[in-house]
């Protein structure tokens, strides 16, 4: 009986593959002025020679990362060195070249290489597997199915082809076939995550949401961070009318794809393909993912390798530096940033980015003036840089140079890309500097343009109840402004909101309530927030003395997110 692989090869290569191939000769042609490999498999003299598919080096080879070019040259040399006959070695050489093309996105050439590899060594299942992946990605699902089946026949103990085949069957609408395959996999490995997800999906297509729920609950125990598991669970819960639980699950799915943990085939063949990719971009992508997952050690390793792949890449240097900085290797980080600066085009965004990061590193090292010099340099390169203005604002703010800080915050808020957080501090500083009217006006405007921003509205509420003129105070509006902030923080309000509630109560001369809230704030703040604790205590004294708070924001006050237990009569 004809195997799946034989059928595929017969379909994809116009010349039939014979068992009696006795003699092989190879001719190297020069196409596009570079390497071209066309292998003629000369068979019985009576039959035409078997022709392998021609493959040429990519026309943009010289534009690739240095490490990638070297990798290609090695594979090319390996191909030249293999014996001129169908064999494991010649199949492997073509397959490895296919992996190179596959990893770097040359799917046409990759497909040709894999097919050549299969012609030369049809006993190796992974070439079928990779060819199947390429076909699946191109939407040729029936062909992909054949390749996966071939791989599964040749390697029945390998889960990769079976998992992909099962997923494909499900996508093709063959739920029964998919279920059989998934169940067989789970019988061998009860914790195979993709199969658990697959079984859940099969159940979902049959609207059997209780069964789906069982599989998904098991899955999230194994992989609590897997985005697709959480999302499928949310969909299932929604179908079961468990809306609140569904929303809770949705909240666990990171919005940014880069922040998501994905379920992916973990078999040796998949890992092998991932390892082929030595391009700086892939390493950077993986490094950034590790960084975002706060796995900084891994990020250092991957981003360091990315630098090795593209030693003159400014981006790679900066990324590496950020990871080094996170693991406390500050001098090494600084060195990488200086190299980033060196490799940046003069006047480019990367140069600005290097300065910014050097500035941030200097802040970390308590070198304020060095930081200022770098932030200024970034600003010189782009006078509208929001990041540079923000950093200079913060730096001046920390140093007590409030007018200078305000000026930078103003630049951000007046620019094309204002940030609510910066505009909050603009409002806070205006009030600290006794420019309450301006603060009020700015906050009213910001509150409108940023929609319902709890921070801005909380500060606006404070301003509304601390107006010098009693007739200008607006208690009702202040209360309504704070209400969403309370509603938006389930459990308990934070220090800022709680102090605002106290401030409003005091302004309304309900000192009992003000003292209750402020007392709770004092209790909530520990020694690590000593400065804010002092401010909170001062306010508590004021209320105990029967005085309302005169200033909405204190010079050294911070945005503390510590939760405050509401007093008993806080209703």
């Amino acid at each position: 009986m004809e195997s799946h692989l034989q059928a595929l090869l017969r379909a994809s290569v116009p010349i039939s593959l014979r068992d009696d191939v006795r003699e092989v000769s190879r001719t190297t042609l020069s196409l596009l002025g570079a390497m071209s490999l066309v292998v003629f498999l000369a068979c019985d003299p009576a039959t035409p020679p078997l022709v392998l598919e021609a493959v040429t080096p990519p026309s943009d080879l010289t534009q690739l990362d240095q490490a990638v070019q070297v990798q290609f040259a090695d594979l090319q040399a390996a191909l030249e060195a293999v014996p001129e006959a169908p064999s494991v070695a010649s199949g492997s050489a073509w397959g490895a070249l296919g992996q190179w093309f596959h990893a770097y996105g040359y799917s046409d050439s990759a497909g040709s290489c894999y097919r050549n590899a299969l012609l030369l060594d049809s006993s190796e299942p992974k070439w079928s597997y990779y060819a199947g992946i390429l076909e699946q990605e191109s939407g040729r699902w029936e062909t992909a199915r054949g390749y996966y089946r071939a791989a599964a026949e040749l390697a029945p103990t390998e889960l990769g082809p079976q998992v992909r085949l099962a997923e494909l069957e499900l996508q093709l609408g063959e739920a029964d076939e998919a279920e059989t395959l998934f169940r067989a996999i789970v019988a061998r490995d009860p914790d195979e995550t993709l199969s658990l997800l697959g079984l859940a999906r099969v159940a979902m297509t049959r609207q059997d949401y209780f069964t789906a729920l069982t599989h998904l609950q098991h899955l999230v125990e194994l992989q609590p961070d897997a985005a697709e598991a959480r999302y499928a669970l949310a969909v299932t819960l929604r179908q079961l009318q468990r809306e609140e639980e569904a929303l809770a699950e949705l909240a666990l799915v990171p919005a940014d794809n880069l922040d998501q943990v994905r379920l992916a085939p973990q078999g040796p063949w998949d890992s092998e393909l991932v390892r082929v990719d030595r391009g700086s971009r892939a390493l950077t992508r993986r490094g950034v993912r590790a960084f975002r997952a706060r796995d900084f050690g891994r990020a250092v390793e991957l981003l360091g390798r990315a630098v090795g792949s593209d030693p003159s890449g400014a981006d790679e240097r900066i990324n590496y530096a950020l990871a080094l900085s996170e693991v406390g290797r500050l001098p090494a980080a600084e060195e990488q940033l200086r190299l980033g600066l060196e490799f940046s085009q003069p006047g480019s965004e990367l140069m600005g980015k290097s300065h910014l990061e050097l500035g941030r590193l200097a802040v970390k090292q308590h070198e304020a003036e060095a930081a200022r010099a770098h932030f200024d340099a970034a600003l010189n390169l782009d006078s509208t840089s929001v990041a540079a203005h923000t950093e200079l604002g913060r730096l001046n703010h920390r140093q007590g140079r409030l007018e200078d800080a305000l000026s930078h915050y103003e630049s951000v808020c007046a620019g094309a890309r204002p940030f609510p957080e910066v505009c909050f501090w603009r409002g806070a500083l205006l009030s600290v500097l006794g420019r309450g009217d301006e603060a009020l006006m700015a906050l009213e405007e910001d509150s409108q343009r940023f929609g319902d921003n709890p921070r801005l509205e909380t500060l606006l509420a404070r301003l509304l109840v601390t107006q010098p003129s009693a007739s200008s105070r607006d208690f009702a509006r202040a209360r309504s402004l704070v209400a969403p902030a309370i509603a938006g923080t389930p459990g308990a309000p934070d220090v800022v909101v709680a102090q605002t509630l106290a401030m409003i109560a005091a302004a309304e001369r309900d000192f009992g309530r003000a003292i209750a809230w402020q007392g709770s704030v004092v209790q909530a703040l520990g020694d690590e927030h000593r400065r804010d604790l002092q401010i909170a205590r001062r306010r508590l004294v004021l209320y105990r003395q029967g005085n309302p708070c005169g200033s909405p924001w204190e010079r050294l006050e911070g945005l503390i997110e510590v939760r405050v237990e509401p007093p008993e009569d806080a209703s």
Binding site: S59, R281, D382
Partner: protein
């Protein structure tokens, strides 16, 4: 070129036909008309009929992010003569002069390989002639200069709508750079536009893409929603790379997302920016497409925004005068793929694909990702039916941009034409030295009912095997013959006007649904009834990719040749019915001129 009409009559009827009391014949709208096996076929008639537009993206090897993104087109009746005219959005050169001036995307003065191309978008007047024997001739004349419509900037898209309720369709042009609002001031003798961007208060200098005119507060005046893409300008240009390190176009995640913009029409020719108040600033993203459609059937138009590699947004309209929205995409199942992953959504259409009287969503995505069909359960919650519908796997090989939902064979079911063109280099084309190796074939998906679509591209004519970098796909009946044609825009290439030459033998009815003052009633829902079936369509110009379509509703009737009834569900409440409308014609249905339908008669 002479086009032979497929129907016996295509005359404009100013008012609904009489004969309202006549009993309808015992025929239902058959979904398998007698032309069910006839292929849907299109033929490009652009150049031979005077539509000689060639888009230029200005590429110079710098790989500026804006180059492969544009551009769109509009099909609209600029001069009120009853046929569709065409506006095509132009790109231009992106050069040092623009960046020196600090202006995003301002075309370079001369220079570059496109210096001979006419700058700015072009307006083509359609001089459709219908002979006594029913034969039709379309001829396009470039009237850009005489119209005064000087589209400046590096063009992206266009939205059409009558924002000042004067009965003439105006255009809002989105750019990589400052947008423009052009007020149509044509009279019976001449086509004319005046720019009113500043005076109307709709200035937007960021990189804008999709846009829609929609009466979101139901006050009788069209508001304006504009999607902005990312925070990119020539000064912040980055060179991205392929996985191996070769320089390549960047993706949207290389830049910060932008928030969109919503302007409320004050009714006096000016708009007020209500973006913050309405709540839409909360989700800065990478918007490319938008449709204004009442997805939960609560009487208020919602906004569905497709974002490139960021979650899509469904702005649920809370209703009322104040314009207030909340994003419900995640909980309604329209934000991300089945895997919980944001897709690179480009073009989008909202239509009732499964014939259950609510609007579904279809959107296009990158190569190796499926296009997505979200099917509405009637309450505004959706199920991803991409794979079961057959629209999933068949889209993996191409990057979809524009999408036109049209009934290609008038069988009563909406088919899909998808404009494809990659954004990442295609190996075989790059090897052959193609300077823009992003070319892919467009696709036609035929709706066979039961929720299944089939790729019918091979039988659809030469145009569906041509490799181009297509972007916009706009449907409209260019020769009023009752068959939906498609205008395709190509990045750095010629526009194609795909004339529908399908010989299905099915019947049809065309409807232009108008407000009292003569504007298209955008947002109204149209129900075409036969004895025991009904087809729902929406009156709109938005959707697809960067484009604006024919506002008329063209409904395929299959075998039904007897007169039908039409109910219009007006946006601001009220239902009117027109009875005994004979197929094979276009009708203008004006608010207040139909028979009011009482609420108990509505179903």
């Amino acid at each position: 070129m002479v086009l032979i009409g497929a129907c016996d009559s295509a005359r404009e009827v100013g008012k609904p036909a009489g004969d309202q009391g006549r009993e309808r014949e015992a025929e239902s709208l058959r979904v398998d008309g007698n032309g069910a096996d006839a292929p849907i076929v299109f033929a490009d008639i652009a150049v031979e009929n005077g539509l000689d537009f060639v888009h230029s993206n200005g590429m110079t090897g710098h790989l500026y992010f804006a180059e492969p993104v544009g551009a769109g087109a509009a099909l609209f009746d600029v001069d009120g003569d009853g046929d569709l005219d065409i506006f095509l959005v132009q790109g231009g050169a992106l050069g040092a002069n623009a960046s020196d001036a600090g202006i995003k995307g301002r075309p370079r003065e001369g220079g570059g390989p496109w210096e001979d191309s006419p700058s700015g978008g072009r307006l083509y007047r359609n001089d459709l002639k219908v002979s006594g024997d029913g034969s039709r001739t379309v001829q396009f004349t470039d009237v850009t200069m005489e119209s005064g419509l000087q589209a400046s900037g590096y063009g992206m898209g266009v939205a059409s709508g009558d924002f000042d309720n004067d009965g003439r369709t105006d255009l809002y042009l989105t750019n990589f750079g400052p947008n423009q609002l052009w007020r149509n001031v044509s009279d019976g003798k001449r086509i004319a536009f005046e720019e009113v961007t500043q005076s109307a208060g709709v200035e937007e200098n960021r990189w804008s893409t999709g846009a829609t005119f929609a009466d979101l507060d139901a006050d009788g005046w069209l508001d304006l929603f504009v999607t902005n893409y990312v925070d990119f300008d020539l000064l912040s240009h980055k060179t991205c790379s392929s996985s191996g390190g070769r320089p390549d176009y960047c993706g949207p995640q290389s830049y910060d997302g932008e928030s969109d913009r919503l302007w409320q029409n004050r009714g006096d020719g000016t708009f007020q920016d209500v973006s913050g108040r309405a709540g839409i600033l909360l989700e800065p993203s990478s918007g490319l497409g938008v449709v204004a459609v009442d997805l939960d059937l609560d009487g208020w138009l919602d906004l569905y925004v497709t974002n490139d590699l960021r979650r899509n947004v469904l702005w649920h309209n809370r209703g009322g005068d104040g314009l207030s929205f909340e994003d419900v995409a995640l909980e309604t199942g329209t934000a991300v793929s089945m895997l919980g992953r944001a897709q690179a959504s480009m073009g989008v259409v909202a239509e009732d694909f499964d014939g259950d009287a609510d609007d579904d969503l279809f959107m296009t995505h990158l190569t190796a990702d499926t296009n997505t069909l979200y099917v509405n359960d009637g309450g505004g919650t959706f199920e991803d039916r991409s794979n079961p519908s057959g629209l999933g796997a068949s889209s993996l090989e191409a990057t979809g941009f524009g999408v036109a939902a049209l009934d290609g064979d008038n069988d009563g079911r909406l088919d899909l034409v998808i404009a494809n063109g990659a954004v990442k280099s295609i190996e075989v084309q790059a090897r052959s030295g193609d300077p823009l190796p992003l070319k892919q074939a467009n696709q036609l998906f035929r709706n066979f009912g039961s929720g299944r679509f089939t790729d019918a591209s091979q039988a659809a004519g030469l145009e569906f095997s041509r490799l181009e970098v297509s972007r916009g796909a706009v449907s409209g009946d260019i020769d009023n013959d009752g068959r939906s044609d498609v205008l395709i825009t190509n990045n750095n290439g010629a526009a194609r006007l795909l004339h529908n030459v399908t010989e299905s033998g099915n019947h049809w009815i065309g409807l232009r649904v108008l407000e009292k003052h003569g504007s298209d009633a955008l947002g109204a829902r149209v129900q075409v009834l036969t004895r025991d079936s009904s087809v729902w369509r929406r009156v709109s110009t938005d959707g697809s990719y960067l484009s604006a379509r024919d506002p008329r509703v063209l409904v395929g009737l299959g075998l039904v040749e007897a007169p039908v009834s039409v109910r219009v569900h007006w946006l601001r409440g009220g239902i009117e019915e027109w009875q005994s409308l004979a197929p094979g014609q276009y009708y203008s249905l004006r608010r207040g001129e139909g028979d009011p339908v009482k609420s108990e008669e509505q179903e």
